[in-house]
């Protein structure tokens, strides 16, 4: 049986850029609705505030700002991009692919691939693997991996389990072909589709056309409609502790990494309790597990690049850091990658309220 893991060489990350909305929402604004539950929630998840989009602002708006910044900083010119990938669960439209919208907005050349990938918490790790694999193909040298999610827009404000958890964000990462093959990237992936309903928005696409928009109670303090995100916290936690630490340990074994010779374990920021649990099970001290969920919430696909930029952008030296990245969640899906990242590739996190007004359309 193939292990869905291996080595990918001749690829280098040249830049990582992230953008979050300017609009800050603190937990205190929920005290009226959830009372004492707010404090308990903060203690377990670690979330104190999040950045939330305006009604018109989308994930691609945030990703656009991140990509524009990367071009403005001279990391690449738009004409050098041979492929654009957009990873998201909250696209601009049901169709076309958001990558095509971003392609024209960023002024990329016509000789360019552009496509979307629908994944969440594991999506950044997947994106790195897909973009890195593309870099090695004939006729492709530079790949712009974009993505983002606005989960705040698909959560019921009356759902105690989710309303305060998710923040919005977008990112852009530049990967290029490299002649040298000194520091290959190691990867490992897994999927358990039997958990597809553990994190789900049932209606809004083709399967449940007649979903109820009525808000009803799904459990204590959980009020939602069929168009809102549903998450079975117990199942997701069970999945996480049974699959993720073992996947990290296996990947690190293959890559010759240990907690001692690794600078950082960058985890998807699911919630603080889960981060601590994974750190304990993989024998990483928390000093090597950077945390951003406290200030940005769970930003879905953006959480790993956001945590990298937050941890590394302040001291932009050129010394490569040995990092292990692990994304896990909706699908259920997981991916682990080990690679080297130099801090000067990571741009400081940008704040933006910019919207693409030309994107608004209606038949009315």
């Amino acid at each position: 049986m193939n292990p869905a893991s291996g080595i990918l060489g001749n690829v280098v990350i040249r830049a990582i850029s992230c953008a979050v909305p300017t609009n800050l929402v603190g937990n205190e604004s929920f005290v009226g609705r959830f009372g004492e539950g707010v404090e308990k929630f903060a203690k377990m998840t670690g979330v104190t505030r999040r950045c939330v989009t305006n009604p018109e602002q989308t994930a691609s708006d945030l990703s656009y700002v991140a990509a524009k910044r990367l071009f403005d900083e001279g990391k690449a010119a738009p004409q050098e991009i041979d492929a654009l990938i957009f990873v998201s669960q909250t696209p601009d439209y049901i169709l076309p692919a958001t990558a095509c919208v971003l392609h024209q907005r960023l002024g990329l050349k016509k000789e360019c691939l552009a496509f979307d990938i629908n994944l969440g918490c594991s999506g950044f790790v997947y994106g790195l693997f897909v973009a890195g694999s593309l870099c090695r193909r004939e006729g492709i040298r530079n790949v712009l991996l974009c993505g983002g999610d606005t989960i705040s827009k698909v959560v019921s404000p009356a759902d105690k389990s989710a309303a305060m958890l998710f923040g919005d964000g977008g990112f852009a990462t530049l990967l290029s072909y490299s002649e040298t093959d000194d520091n290959p990237l190691h990867y490992l992936f897994g999927t358990d589709g039997s958990g597809a309903k553990s994190i789900i928005i049932p209606s809004g696409a083709q399967r449940n056309k007649q979903g109820s928009r009525e808000i009803s109670e799904f459990g204590e303090g959980v009020l939602r409609s069929d168009y809102d995100l549903y998450m079975d916290g117990t199942e997701v936690f069970n999945f996480t502790i049974s699959e993720v630490p073992s996947a990290i340990k296996r990947l690190m074994g293959q890559a010759g990494r240990s907690p001692e010779n690794t600078d950082m374990l960058v985890l998807h920021q699911a919630n603080l309790f889960i981060l601590k649990q994974i750190a304990k099970m993989t024998k990483f001290p928390m000093e090597k597990v950077p945390v951003t969920i406290d200030r940005f919430g769970n930003t879905s696909i953006t959480s790993i690049p956001l945590t990298l930029c937050d941890a590394l952008a302040a001291n932009p030296d050129q010394v490569p850091r040995r990092v292990v990245l692990a994304g896990y969640g909706v699908g259920l899906s997981w991916g682990v990658i080990s690679l080297d990242v130099a801090p000067y590739c990571c741009l400081p996190v940008a704040y933006s309220s910019e919207c693409y007004t030309e994107g608004a359309l209606s038949h009315g």
Partner: protein, 71 residues
Amino acid sequence: MTIQDKIQALEELFEADAGTITPETALDTLQWDSMAMLSLIALVNEKFGKRLNGQQLKALKTIQDILAVME
């Protein structure tokens, strides 16, 4: 794990003083919230290789119910 070890682990989990928890203790007299539930899932997974689902968690009423799972 002896029964004393298990009770001690549960006292730590519930942040209760040593000697205050007995098999008869009702969970609704303790901090039996979502954090305690996740901690219990992690404990049972780590020490006994078992998976507890939402229904099983809801059915737990006393420390004795938890001890029955810790085997």
